[in-house]
């Protein structure tokens, strides 16, 4: 077992080694000006950005730093309010993620609080009655007697990250009346 005094002796030895290493490390110090540091940061940020570049955001950051409009205090409160805003919007959108076209696409963090238990907000009318939209278990925008069906594929054109136009085949969906409802309507009604 290593005793505390021997551990401290080891620490002293490490400290001496550290000083020697520091003396040798002068060659690997910061090289270049602060502008070079900034260039390096911008370069790495550009490399790390996702496929869809967001030029507005990066240019606004530049503007802030150079014009000095947003100082340290501003940046601090901006970051806090931004985080609160994102959390608030994230929460309020995630509970609607069972709506078409987001069905099954709940954000990752929502799964941590058991996405299966997420309940939709019930919209009550002035009379206190729960709306039919909230009652029925189906995508919003469809009537009770309607359903979605796959209607083959269609060709769309998109720009890729390099700005080239690419052709894609995507599924096409349509809305139709449910068959049983349509049959019921067409069949003669009996009078009692």
């Amino acid at each position: 077992m290593v005793s505390l005094p021997s551990f401290i002796r080891l620490g002293r030895h490490a400290a001496c080694q550290l000083i020697l290493q520091l003396a040798v490390a002068t060659t690997s110090l910061h090289a270049g000006t602060l502008k070079d540091f900034k260039k390096g940061v911008k370069k790495e940020q550009a490399n790390n950005q996702p496929a869809k570049n967001e030029p507005e955001e990066s240019s606004s950051t530049d503007g802030k730093s150079e014009s000095g409009e947003c100082g340290l205090g501003c940046a601090f409160f901006s970051a806090i309010f931004s985080a609160i805003g994102k959390a608030w919007i994230g929460y309020n959108t995630s509970i609607y993620y069972d709506d078409y076209p987001y069905a099954g696409k709940a954000p990752l963090w929502a799964t941590y609080r058991d996405a299966g238990k997420i309940t939709r907000r019930e919209k009550k009318s002035s009379s206190g009655r729960v709306s039919a939209d909230a009652d029925r278990n189906k995508p919003a925008g469809l009537a009770d007697d309607e359903e979605m069906y796959s209607d083959g594929t269609e060709t769309i054109y998109e720009f890729d990250t390099l700005g080239n136009m690419v052709q894609k085949q995507v599924p096409r969906y349509g809305i139709r009346k449910k068959k049983d409802t349509a049959q019921r309507r067409s069949s003669p009604t009996t009078c009692r």
Partner: protein, 161 residues
């Protein structure tokens, strides 16, 4: 001489030497308030001939293991660059403080700064000698990523209360 156990408070003033044209000045504090929880803060202003870059951080420090003369803690903090570069984000890491006897101390901190589209490694390594409640220290300080590096020697004084 303080031993870094239980509660303590220190403030520091430090200077940094990055190269012949680039240097830094700043201050900081560490307050271990409840024996296991504390506050930390740091301010550094880097300058060269034409530019100024400010680094600020403020956060909380949690002791994971403490003995007389030995403290291992974890920290989380808000960090920001301003002036030449406007970046902000969260920082986290771990810190080892050892009081070696003979009025000497070793302080090592390693962490990450996670900012917009970039992550930095944040190292702070220092060796100090106590004169009563004042520690005179020298060390190495670096904030670096794959493409950018801000690193240099540091030296300063820390007052332990």
């Amino acid at each position: 001489m303080p031993d870094g156990k239980r509660s303590f408070f220190n403030i520091e003033a430090a200077g940094l030497y990055l190269d012949r044209e680039t240097y830094g000045l700043g201050g900081g504090f560490q307050a271990r308030l409840l024996g296991w929880f504390g506050l930390i803060g740091e301010y550094r202003q880097y300058r060269d001939k034409s530019d100024k870059l400010t680094f600020t951080s403020f956060g909380a420090d949690f002791a994971l293991f403490q003995l007389g003369g030995f403290s291992w803690s974890a920290y989380v903090q808000y960090s920001a660059f301003s002036d030449l570069l406007a970046l902000s984000g969260a920082g986290y890491g771990t810190r080892l403080q050892m009081f070696l006897g003979g009025r000497t101390a070793l302080d090592f901190r390693i962490g990450k700064l996670s900012m917009t589209d970039i992550e930095f490694w944040d190292y702070d390594l220092r060796f100090g000698v106590f004169v009563n409640r004042v520690q005179v220290f020298v060390g190495y300080r670096a904030i670096e990523s794959a493409e950018a590096k801000l690193a240099g020697f540091q030296g300063g004084m820390q007052l332990w209360l």
